[in-house]
Every structure is written in structure tokens, then in C-alpha cells.
């Protein structure tokens, strides 16, 4: 996938209701977000982190995550994501997501590479309810901005895609990649 390739624009703001029907946290829920917005926010962040979990192994998703990683963004491989990402020449680090969600809240934490905390974290490819709980910690106890570019609507994030069918999800990831490759 390159910036020159034709990238169709998809609407990722539909079906912005919690993927688990009853996962309604409270009055503040994520703003539905278009892919270009996500791409621009990641591109503009000073210290972004992409958090990728055990749903990354799907061939189409993996391909996109590798391309995203090649744009230079640091990747936290949570769950067993490292298995598919470890040997791809990316800036990728294994960490337990439950611990990570707490460390991000700690202003003293110096990040996965010891170079400082993160101002924007983006979730992708993680067991839905598990990610939802981790994002909940960040929502309430950290100042870090949270995006979800997963195929699920994550109400606890600041901004999130809606619940997406696979083709739209993949197209949305392509749009983000194109956006990052522009910068």
C-alpha cells in the first residue's frame, strides 16, 4: 500500500454504538471518527503509540499494521501480537496491556523505549472487551488522548470508528496509511 495508490474514502462513523450491546459506560462516549481525521491526529502527535493486540494475525489486518509501523510509529504489541510483528523490522515492543494501560497514566513512566510518555495512543486489533477495559483506565485516569481505529466502536475512547464490516475496516486502515505517508 503506498500513498500513490488510489484510496477510496469510506464512512467509519456509522453504527457508532458499543460493540457489546450493554457496554454503555456513561454520558461521555467516543466521538465517531473518519479515517482521515485519525490519520491526521496520529501524524500530528508528538509521541504517538499504536497498541496492537491478538486480533492482528488476520492477513489483511497484519499487512496494514506492518505498513503503519513502517511509517515510523512505535508499536506496543499486546496479548500475543508480537508473534506476527516481532520479525518485521518495526519499532515494536511486547507489553501486557493491563499493565500498559496503567503505566500510560503514570507521568513518571518513560515509555517503552525510555524516551518519555505518549500524548496519543491508538488501539487496533484487540479482543473487544479487553481493550474496552484498558481504554476505560485511560479515559478516567490519564491525560493521554485515545483513538480507536479497530473494527469496533469503543465508547471509552476519545474518538472511535463505528462497528465496521471487514472491507470498510481494511479500507479505513488504508486511508490512515495514506494520510501518514503524506506527512
Amino acid at each position: 500500500m503506498t500513498a500513490d495508490a488510489a484510496v477510496k474514502t469510506v464512512d467509519t462513523t456509522r453504527r457508532a454504538v458499543p460493540f457489546d450491546t450493554a457496554n454503555i459506560p456513561g454520558p461521555k462516549m467516543a466521538k465517531p471518527m473518519m479515517p482521515q481525521v485519525a490519520g491526521k491526529m496520529i501524524a500530528k502527535a508528538k509521541r504517538p503509540l499504536l497498541i496492537v493486540g491478538s486480533e492482528v494475525h488476520d492477513k489483511d489486518v497484519l499487512e496494514r499494521v506492518i505498513t503503519l509501523g513502517k511509517t515510523g510509529i512505535q508499536i506496543a504489541a499486546v496479548g500475543n501480537a508480537y508473534k506476527s510483528l516481532g520479525d518485521k523490522g518495526l519499532d515494536v515492543h511486547y507489553i501486557n496491556m493491563h499493565a500498559l494501560s496503567y503505566y500510560i497514566c503514570d507521568p513518571e513512566w518513560q515509555g517503552l523505549d525510555g524516551k518519555g510518555g505518549y500524548d496519543l495512543v491508538t488501539f487496533l486489533g484487540i479482543t473487544y472487551y479487553y481493550a474496552s477495559q484498558a481504554i476505560s483506565a485511560l479515559k478516567h485516569f490519564s491525560k493521554t488522548k485515545v483513538l480507536s481505529i479497530d473494527k469496533y466502536y469503543h465508547p471509552n475512547a476519545d474518538m472511535s470508528f463505528g462497528n465496521l464490516k471487514k472491507d470498510i475496516f481494511i479500507a479505513a486502515l488504508d486511508e490512515i496509511i495514506a494520510e501518514l505517508q503524506k506527512e
Binding site: D20, T21, G79, N80, K139
Partner: protein
């Protein structure tokens, strides 16, 4: 003069009777040895703070609002305060407290019910007999400071638990406690009370009901959804309390009915039925409850308490299965027929006049249930009653699916049901068979389908081939670990030459199917870990067979030594797993136990490589057990659903000062490796969980041989399941002798090139790099008063 228990009349004062109850004797056995017998809410607060300072509570709220009181609902988003002044952190900590209280109340109320019943049947003076042990009730001794001898000795123990739980519950009212940290200290207190309540419940039933007493080689019980002969009358007991099922088993025994009636249990009652009478069988955990009822096989359902589905009466009555409720805690609005004639009740239930009855006279339960099963069964079987569709209906139902995915949205596992329906419509049932293992049997999907497909029934119908094959074996619950076994193994555990004890506990809410629990056990047994299990997890381990048709229980013996697989028994037998660490501290290391919680927990945390795995934990009880283990210094790993407990205890390895301990020899401060790194944490997947378990078995006290063994497994499991060396393996290396032998040279090279350590290659020795040296006499402690001399 010796004062004895009894009734006395004084000469000349014939109208006066003196009653002398329990006589507490002075002397070695009765002596309190530590500072906190019967700890009050704040007695162990300093210990809790030590834990919480290192293992910080991590909150993952499921709801941003609080609706506890009529000030609310209050929006606490972003840790705002509600109308009463509590913030989201405090409120979530309060939920942790309430969850622990609920769990502890469940187990101790179970114990209270059993104690009433057993005292009535056997008398207060019935002796405790748990097998070859002097330390008969380790938790009771450590918490209460007493050494119980008779079941009546547990009366003040439960009175203490109940009083403390009332005090703790009061702290959760609006306008009481406001500090998250103190809510957590109280939650830890509730967790400890939970362990105590469980110990009472299990010791008294072991002592009175002929259950195995620390036996390593108990018989095998059959387990699985395919084990019962559905052509016979089938009785299924659901829940946790053996009192009622024991009467049924006795009646069947006395009337030679075991050939005529099939009797089995669902959830922990099943374990205790097999411990009471090895003819009984086990169907499985709570996740099998709805599935088995829907099969239509049970002819009578007997409920007691805990882990009984709230809809069991409705589900059962739809299939004309009468329900006999036998415990005050679950009464379902049923008529209390405890005073009525058994034959009248049988007639009313068999005719359908009543859907079920409440029967609190347990002796009558014993007679009622088999008689009812014999009467109802031919009627039900003649009608062929089942909720599952027949072949023709099944084909129509799977074809009806519109792939809207609403069921997946509602499924707590997010299972890909629509795909499986499509495959089934094309004649491929394999995906439904996979779903059957991953499905936790909650029934939520049935409510969601807009075209009214009874999804769970369709899954179960499609999986009939594998269900028929579900026939495993479980070694019947052994109870405690006896003192001689501890004497034999304690040293290996403390030095680390047995890589660790892994307690496989909790319920069946597994993230990716039941087989995971079998697989983790198999891997760790091959690596010589000791596996101790109990409750639903202990059942699930026995559900799978190898190519030769053997289950893990048949392949691995049940002694408390490396590479063995032990089943302690039911949910309340969890107490013995925690208590084993107390036994090691007492028997192997000579630590005083009575009223000495802090010292024992400090010993456990620093020296005993034990870790709990609650991979499918769902209940408040499981949370309470985990929290109690945490207060005892035992780390616990939960599956991803565990994040919905909303609180974990996570260490920060990057904060060096958090890992300072004292050397008890002189009170000097030693900065140690982060071990154990966390006290309560989750993992997303099986692959991630495997090396985490190995890592959490590492302790500061390991000797070099032990550390090398533990590091070998940590590294190998990480390489096998995560395709990588762990990032932090070097943190646990204190000298070249700590390195796994087979990889020593390679690892020395890595330490030099990647971590900048200095190596003397002639002698193959590490010259500089490690955070500390190995010191075989090091006595790590987190408690200043345990140091001989506090260093300046």
C-alpha cells in the same frame, strides 16, 4: 484443679446449674504466637499498605456513573467526585470491597449452613480429621490464633468472620469510607476472611462426611456431558453444598438404586458428591448448566446454593423437569413443602401441579428425589422432551439466519455465530462444534436474534457428535496437603528447584474455550511445576484425552511433588491451596503461625513461588479468593474477562525503589529484582499467559539452581508462545550461576553485547552488570519489625 467441659450442680445449691463450655487451655498449643489474632479491620493495615505501595490498584471501571444512593446518579467520568464526595477511584475501590464481601459471605454462609447441619448431626465435639497433619487448620491458626480440635471449635471462627463482614459492609455505605487505598485494605481483609470461611466449610465436611483426607491417590470420577445414560432416570444436583445431595446418595445407597438411577452434579456440588460417594458423576462447570438442561436429559433438578442460574426454574419447567430447591438462599418463589408427606409431593410434581418445591428437610430430600426421578422419568422419556431441534428443524433454523450479527454483539465472547450458521446450512457442522467449546452457555444470544433462532440450542444440536464424546476423568478431591508431603517438598519450593506451584482455579468463563485450561496444565506438568487445582477448573482439566484415551489425571500422579497434578476438591477446597503456603512457612521454615498473618504472608511473598491462574473467573467468589491470596502474598493471573472485575494490583518494574526489601539479618535495604512482579493481573491470550505464569513464580529468595530453573522455563515459554526472548530476563540474573545451563554461553554473550555487562570470558563469569549478588543466606522481608537490627 482441672476444669472440664460439662454441666455441674453445687451441693446445697440444687437450683443452680453451672455450664462450662469450651475450655481454652494455656500452653504451647493454645499460645498466640503473633501480634494479630482475630485481626480487626485495621490490624493488618500496615501490611496492606506495604502491598499497595508496590502493587498499585489499577482501576478499569465498567461504568462511569455511581447510582448507589439517591443523591445520584452521579457522573464520575474523569475521576470526578459525586454528590457524596466520592471520586471514581474511590467508588471503584468500593466496588472491589463489595465484590470481595459478597464472595466471602458466600463461602462463609456455606460454611455456616454446613456447620449448623453437621453439629446437629454429629455434635460439637466431633473431632477434626483432615489426614496426616499437625497443622490441621493453617488459615484458622494464622488468622484466629487458635488450633481447633473439634467442629464446635469453628463456631467462634465463623462468628468472627460474620462480625468482620458486617463491619466491612458498613464501610461501603454512602458517607463512610472515602479513601480508595483504605477500601482496598478492607477488600484485602474481606479476601482473607473468605479464605478462612472456605477452610471452615471444607474441614468440617472432610471431618464429618468421610471425604478423602489428604489422600494423594483418590479414585477417578467420570466427567462430561456424555457420561450419563439418558435411558435411565437422571438426577442432576446443581450448586455447591453437599448437605442435600448427601441424603440423596445415602438413600440411593440404602435402596440399591445406583444401577437404576443416574446421579451427577453440575458445578462444585459435583466435586463434593464424588468426595462423599465415588459412585456419583460430574457433568461439568456452570457453563454446562443451561446446555445440559436444554438437552432435556435431567429428570429432576436439585438446587442448593451458589452458581445456580437464576432462570433455572423457568428453563426446567419448560421441559417439565421438576426443581427441588434445598437451601434458604435460593427459593425461587417455590412453595415450602418441608412439612408435607413425600409421596404427596411426588404426585404433585409428577402430575405437573407444581413446577418445583422448596424442601428444607434434607432427610426428606433424600427420599423425595429418587422417588420423583423414578416416577417422572418414564413420562418424560416417553414424550422425548428436549429443547434441541430435530434434524429437520435444525436445517430450517440455520437456513433462516440473516447474518445480522446481533447475536455476536450480545455474546460475551463475541463468537462468530453467523459464520457457523452459514457453514451448517452447507452441511459443515465443524464450526458449531468449535463454538460449543468456546460458548459459556449464557443464553444471551437467544434473546437477541431478530428472526427468533434459538441460537444456543442450534449450537448444541450441531455439536451433538462432540458432546456424545465428552467423557473424561477427574481425580476425586483429596482435601488438604498433608504435613509429610510438605516436609518432603518444602525445601525445593523455597529454593526454587521445583519451579513453582501453579494453582488452577476459578470458573468456566474462558476467553477461548475450555481446552486452554487443559493445555496450560499439560505444558506446566511436563516442566515439573506442581499443579494444584480445585472447583470448576479442576473439572475442566479432566475433560480431554490424549491419543491413548488418557486424561491428565490418569497420566500424572497426585502427590505434592514436582510434576504432579492435585485436585483439592470443590470451591471451598481452594482454602487448602492457599493454606499450603502457610504449611511450607511453618513446617519447612519453622515460622510461627498463630495470630501471625503478616509474617507468614511476608514469607510467602518473598520465598514461595506459587501463583494462581483463574483463567475463566467470573464470580464474586473468585475475586474474593484472589484478593485473599494477594493478602497472603500469592500473585494471581486472570483471563481477559478479569479486567471486568475493575481492579488489579500491578507492579511497576521501572520504579526501582518499589523493589527495596530488607535483609532480616541486619535490617539493611536491598534493591531486588521485581519478584513477584504483579499481584493481580490479566493476560489477553493463552500465549501471553504462559510465560507470565513462569515469571510470577520467581522470588527474591531463589538460590542459583532454582533461579536457573525458573529462568529456563520463563525464557523457553516466551520463545515457544511469543516467539521472543523476554525483554526483562536479564533483570533476574544475579550471577552466571543463575543462567540456564544449556544456554549459558549464549546468554553471557547477550548480556555483554545487548546489556553492556562485563564478562570474564576465561572464567565465564559475570564481573559487572547485575543489580545484586546471590547471597544464599539472604532473608528478604518487607516487615521492619522482623529484622534483627534495623540498620542506620
Amino acid at each position: 484443679m482441672t476444669i472440664k467441659k460439662g454441666k455441674f450442680v453445687i451441693e446445697g445449691l440444687e437450683n443452680v446449674q453451672i455450664n462450662i463450655g469450651k475450655v481454652i487451655e494455656e500452653g504451647v498449643d493454645g499460645q498466640i504466637e503473633g501480634p494479630t489474632p482475630k485481626p480487626e479491620i485495621t490490624s493488618l493495615r500496615n501490611w496492606d499498605y506495604r502491598i499497595l505501595d508496590r502493587y498499585n490498584p489499577v482501576y478499569t471501571p465498567t461504568s462511569d456513573i455511581c447510582d448507589y444512593c439517591t443523591y445520584g446518579k452521579c457522573d464520575l467520568t474523569g475521576n470526578k467526585e459525586g454528590a457524596c464526595g466520592i471520586d471514581l477511584e474511590g467508588h471503584t475501590a468500593r466496588q472491589a470491597l463489595m465484590t470481595s464481601i459478597m464472595g466471602a459471605a458466600c463461602h462463609s454462609a456455606h460454611g455456616r449452613h454446613l456447620l449448623h447441619y453437621l453439629i446437629k448431626r454429629y455434635g460439637e465435639d466431633h473431632p477434626i480429621n483432615v489426614g496426616p497433619s499437625n497443622l490441621k487448620a493453617p488459615l484458622t491458626e494464622t488468622i484466629m490464633g487458635i488450633q481447633p480440635e473439634t467442629i464446635g471449635d469453628f463456631l467462634p471462627v465463623l462468628a468472627y468472620v460474620e462480625e468482620q463482614l458486617t463491619q466491612l459492609t458498613a464501610a461501603a455505605n454512602t458517607g463512610q469510607e472515602g479513601s480508595a487505598r483504605d477500601f482496598e485494605s478492607k477488600a484485602l481483609h474481606a479476601g482473607m476472611l473468605d479464605l478462612l470461611g472456605m477452610e471452615v466449610a471444607d474441614i468440617i465436611q472432610i471431618s464429618c462426611m468421610g471425604m478423602p483426607k489428604a489422600e494423594e491417590d483418590t479414585a477417578m470420577a467420570e466427567i462430561g456431558m456424555g457420561i450419563l445414560d439418558p435411558t435411565k432416570p437422571v438426577v442432576v444436583c446443581v450448586g455447591h453444598n453437599i448437605a442435600a445431595p448427601a441424603y440423596i446418595l445415602d438413600y440411593m445407597d440404602e435402596n440399591a438404586l445406583f444401577d437404576k438411577i443416574e446421579i451427577a452434579g453440575l458445578c462444585c456440588t459435583a466435586h463434593d458428591m464424588t468426595r462423599y460417594n465415588k459412585t456419583a458423576k460430574i457433568i461439568g462447570s456452570m457453563s454446562k448448566e443451561l446446555k445440559y438442561i436444554r438437552s432435556g436429559i435431567p429428570d429432576v433438578l436439585v438446587t442448593d446454593e451458589q452458581c445456580v442460574r437464576a432462570d433455572i426454574l423457568r428453563e426446567a419447567s419448560e421441559l417439565h423437569i421438576p426443581v427441588i430447591a434445598t437451601n434458604e438462599k435460593i427459593t425461587y418463589g417455590l412453595p415450602d413443602r418441608s412439612g408435607d408427606n413425600v409421596d404427596d409431593i411426588v404426585n404433585d410434581l409428577a402430575s405437573g401441579k407444581e413446577k418445583g418445591v422448596l424442601m428444607l428437610d434434607l432427610e426428606k430430600v433424600g427420599e423425595l428425589v429418587p422417588k420423583l426421578a423414578m416416577k417422572v422419568s418414564p413420562i418424560r422419556k416417553a414424550k422425548g422432551i428436549t429443547a434441541l431441534p430435530d434434524e429437520g428443524e435444525f436445517a430450517k433454523l440455520v437456513a433462516k439466519c440473516t447474518k445480522c450479527q446481533q447475536c455476536t454483539f450480545d455474546c460475551p465472547q463475541g463468537l462468530p455465530i453467523a459464520d457457523a450458521m452459514e457453514a451448517a446450512a452447507n452441511g459443515d457442522l465443524s464450526q458449531l462444534e468449535v463454538l460449543h467449546d468456546k460458548c459459556v452457555g449464557c443464553g444471551r444470544c437467544d434473546y437477541s436474534c431478530p428472526v427468533k433462532i434459538p441460537v444456543l440450542n442450534v449450537i448444541e444440536k450441531g455439536a451433538q457428535r462432540v458432546i456424545r464424546e465428552e467423557k473424561g476423568k477427574v481425580r476425586i478431591g483429596r482435601g488438604q496437603i498433608g504435613d509429610p508431603e510438605i516436609r518432603e517438598e518444602g525445601r525445593n519450593l523455597v529454593l526454587g528447584t521445583t519451579p513453582g506451584v501453579i494453582a488452577i482455579v476459578g470458573c468456566g468463563n474462558y476467553p477461548d474455550g475450555t481446552k486452554d485450561v487443559h493445555d496450560v496444565v499439560e505444558e506446566m506438568l511436563k516442566r515439573s511445576y506442581i499443579i494444584i487445582s480445585s472447583g470448576c477448573a479442576a473439572m475442566d482439566i479432566g475433560m480431554y484425552k490424549d491419543d491413548e484415551g488418557k486424561t491428565l489425571y490418569e497420566k500424572y500422579p497426585g502427590r505434592f511433588i514436582k510434576g504432579n497434578l492435585l485436585n483439592t476438591g470443590s470451591c471451598v477446597s481452594n482454602a487448602h491451596i492457599a493454606a499450603t503456603t502457610i504449611k511450607v512457612a511453618s513446617i519447612f521454615a519453622g515460622r510461627k503461625t498463630k495470630g501471625n498473618w503478616e509474617e507468614i504472608a511476608d514469607y510467602v511473598m518473598n520465598r514461595i513461588g506459587a501463583v494462581g491462574l483463574a483463567w475463566g473467573a467470573y464470580s464474586q467468589k473468585a475475586f474474593a479468593i484472589a484478593t485473599g491470596c494477594n493478602r497472603l502474598g500469592i500473585p494471581v493471573v486472570a483471563g481477559p474477562h478479569g479486567t471486568k472485575y475493575r481492579r488489579a494490583f500491578i507492579g511497576k518494574p521501572y520504579k526501582k525503589d518499589d523493589w527495596n526489601v530488607l535483609d532480616a539479618r541486619d535490617g539493611s535495604t536491598v534493591n531486588v529484582e521485581p519478584a513477584p512482579e504483579h499481584l493481580m493481573i490479566t493476560a489477553e491470550t493463552f500465549d501471553e499467559m504462559m510465560p507470565l505464569l513462569a515469571k510470577l513464580c520467581i522470588r527474591p529468595s531463589d538460590n542459583s539452581l532454582g533461579r536457573a530453573i525458573k529462568l529456563t522455563h520463563y525464557i523457553e515459554l516466551s520463545e515457544k508462545y511469543m516467539n521472543k526472548m523476554p525483554d526483562d530476563w536479564h533483570v533476574y540474573v544475579r550471577s552466571e550461576a543463575d543462567l540456564p545451563v544449556a544456554k549459558r554461553e549464549h546468554l553471557l554473550k547477550t548480556l555483554e553485547t545487548e546489556h553492556g555487562w562485563k564478562i570474564d570470558w576465561d572464567r565465564k563469569k559475570i564481573i559487572a552488570g547485575p543489580m545484586r549478588k546471590v547471597d544464599v543466606s539472604f532473608q528478604p522481608t518487607n516487615v521492619p519489625r522482623l529484622c534483627k537490627e534495623v540498620s542506620k
